[in-house]
Symmetry: C2
Subunit: 142 residues, 2 copies
DNA sequence: GTTGACCTTCGAGTTAACTCTAAGTTTATA
DNA sequence: TATAAACTTAGAGTTAACTCGAAGGTCAAC
């Protein structure tokens, strides 16, 4: 059984974040000492690792809640439920990637166009480009 | 001179957002009617277009504040100041892109590994992969 | 037996950029 | 003239995921 700081060291989450996740139903300590200290079993640790992996993969805390409920009762859920969530997240990631790639192209072009020197900015081509409204990117809807 | 809804239509910003930007010193109405209605001159419109372009390009409102102060007094600022801001933003965008690309790769691999069918999730390879903690991505510092 | 590290809860604060509401005024239209 | 659309301000609410602080209890070591 691990104490919270040990679980923190193991997962890379902070103790604060572990308690925060607990409040949101993502992680739990199956035991408490008489004085209230949290103690984490092997199963608790695995669950925490799952949460951390899912977080690293980009899933929201809400997504993770759903994934955990599937993980807890695999018999009652299909693979398709899992791939649906995963595909949806991939779609979001791709959408955001497209936006950021457009921004990158724009920023690179701006940098190429400007001398970047110590001259004063009277004819700075970056300022001019932004003035012209030439830039057209759409921000994410979510 | 345009009214706020006309400026909104022209820039694609909402009237709410225009007032919000005004509160933050990014946009201003150089005139007010006796009853307090905002009226935007050509110069005001250009400034609003600048703000919108910069926003589309990914600059934060704080960045835009700095860019506007340069734009307002180009003589006292160098091109380098402008490219510094732009380069910094490009660095941020690239960093976020790298994170998202890692997420994308992970999500794609997860999807490839799972049947996605109506079978129950007892042996779902996505759940298993997340359980294994196999996924390793670092979230952004900012 | 005391010091210091670690633990507890509860609740507030942070960040960024909006977004909305309410209550009231002004203007344009039919 | 009546009504609807558009405008005003001030301030609160939203979102996501933490992050921090205060006030105090617990535990291990020396």
């Amino acid at each position: 059984m691990l104490k919270i700081s040990e679980l923190a060291a193991l997962t890379g989450l902070s103790a604060h974040t572990i308690r925060f996740y607990e409040k949101h139903g993502l992680i739990e300590a199956s035991q408490r000492s008489g004085s209230g200290y949290r103690y984490y079993s092997d199963a608790d640790v695995k669950r925490a690792v799952f949460v951390k992996s899912a977080r690293n993969t980009g899933f929201s805390l809400d997504d993770i809640g759903v994934l955990l409920s599937i993980r807890l009762d695999k018999q009652s859920h299909s693979c398709q439920e899992v791939t649906d969530i995963t595909q949806h997240k991939l779609d979001e990631v791709n959408e955001r990637l497209a936006e950021l790639q457009t921004m990158r192209r724009t920023l690179e072009r701006l940098l190429e166009s400007c001398c970047g020197g110590p001259e004063n900015a009277t004819h700075c081509s970056i300022i001019e480009a932004l003035d012209g409204g030439a830039v057209t990117v759409t921000r994410r809807a979510s």
